[in-house]
Amino acid sequence: MSNSTVVLRAYRDGLHLIIRPHLSITEVEAAIQQEISRMNRSLTGASVQIDLKSPTLKKEEIESLSFKLQETYDLTVRNVEIADEPVAPPIAAAPTTHVISPTTDIRNHQNSEPSRIVPHTIRSGQTEECPQGSLIIYGDVNSGGEVRAGGDIVVLGTLRGKALAGMNGRVSAVIIAMDFEPLHLQIGDYVKNSPVSQEPRGCLKIARIGAEDAITVEKFVKS
């Protein structure tokens, strides 16, 4: 099972060490050790980029972390990238492993965004987009149709096409639909192809980034 607080990933430009928000330096260090010991290949001599999902770690902490990586694992830190915008925690619809910070009031955060209502079915070849807020569809999203939103996507019908929530990289975004038969789901950078839900038809379902660090579709439980 993958660790959800710190993840080591290989991208085209090399290894990335992705550190999730709302963590203290001690938590991060413990998680790094766990993640690296999980790897059965030696990482000696490799270079790594640190991706901080929010600027919760202090500059000195990052420096000491880089030093420790070099010392303990022989990993060279080639770059540190910090996401400017603090990532909002996921909605408290169901228990997740994401740490929910008590200081962030999710309701205010979502109310400040404009959301757009599309009062009809999205048919094949049609695209609806709301880059700054959430998208609500009174109908289906059919195969060949596409919906994209900066925030959440709510489909009051069957989702058969392509849905991309959190298009600006917000991994806390969710996709809610009556029925999931999509070709392609994407939340932030996470992609899932034709996910199958075990839940019965006609009951509201929610897709979000879950404990396995992948998109999961489950029954929607109201908070």
Partner: protein, 264 residues
């Protein structure tokens, strides 16, 4: 003032021309005056399916180029009163006609007839735009398979954008056997996706090939189930309320099997 109805589908080969020929004939058999317009410029077929290919002299292109009167270009079907075909030019292509020119032809035809059926070419480009330019209603033909349905869905979106209303659906080549053993989508699944009014379901029929080759529309064969389906669709188009028979009902046993195997 007649009604101009475009028969379209998006995908090719699902039965637009067959449906146009049969609905045109069926409407004429029901004492309506009908013109079937072939909008598939460059790939004309409607004249063959209706068995009138040998009598085509002028085409819609000649009308547009003012080589002949519109009335002269219409080919009359001698088997039934009140049925005419406006053939498409075979030597031009779809870009040689403007949507406004098609609209002008349709508007002229509707003053003289009860129904103008426009047989649209496959695709969503100029050919489709030409065919739908003069239409105030549409019939979308689909077969119960995912690719035809996705294309039909696209076409419905375009028709809705063009404010063509109502849009009715024909499910063609429907096979109760395949639905029974779960390898074909059933009526409810198709309607659930496309979400428009169903005007008829035409069963799969190998007689279509013979009828196309002989140039005799199916509806003249009164015994055939697909001919009856087209006659019912024509009656519904004229405003009669005829229920759509459930072709899926093939006896108690298969119903029971369906009931047990369906999860819903």
């Amino acid at each position: 003032m007649g009604r101009v109805i475009v028969v379209t589908s998006g995908k090719g080969g699902v039965g637009k021309t067959t449906s146009t020929a049969n609905l045109g004939t069926a409407l004429a058999l029901l004492d309506n005056s009908v013109v079937a317009v072939d909008a598939d410029v460059g790939l004309r077929n409607l004249d063959i399916v209706m068995g009138l290919e040998s009598r085509v002299v002028y085409t819609s292109m000649d009308v547009i180029e003012k080589q002949c009167e519109l009335k002269k270009a219409l080919v009359k079907d001698r088997r039934v009163d009140g049925l005419m075909v406006l053939p498409a030019s075979q030597k031009n292509n779809k870009d040689d006609i403007q949507p406004e020119q098609m609209k002008a032809i349709c508007d002229k035809l509707r003053t003289m007839n009860d129904f103008v059926l426009v047989d649209s070419p496959a695709g969503i480009e100029r050919g489709f735009r030409n065919a739908s330019a003069g239409a105030d209603e549409a019939i979308v033909v689909t077969t119960p398979d995912v690719s035809a349905i996705r294309d039909a869905d696209r076409i419905i979106g375009l028709l809705q954008n063009a404010e063509i209303e109502p849009i009715n659906l024909i499910i063609n080549r429907f096979s109760p056997q395949l639905v029974g053993n779960g390898s074909m989508m059933d009526q409810a699944d198709v309607l659930d996706i496309l979400n428009i009014d169903l005007i008829g379901v035409v069963p799969e029929d190998s007689g279509v090939i013979t009828s196309t080759n002989r140039g005799i529309p199916l509806v003249y064969e009164e015994g055939s189930p697909s001919a009856q389906a087209y006659m019912r669709i024509a009656r519904r188009l004229t405003g009669q309320r005829i229920p759509i028979p459930n072709l899926e009902n093939k006896g108690l046993f298969s119903n029971l099997v369906n009931w047990f195997t369906k999860k819903r």
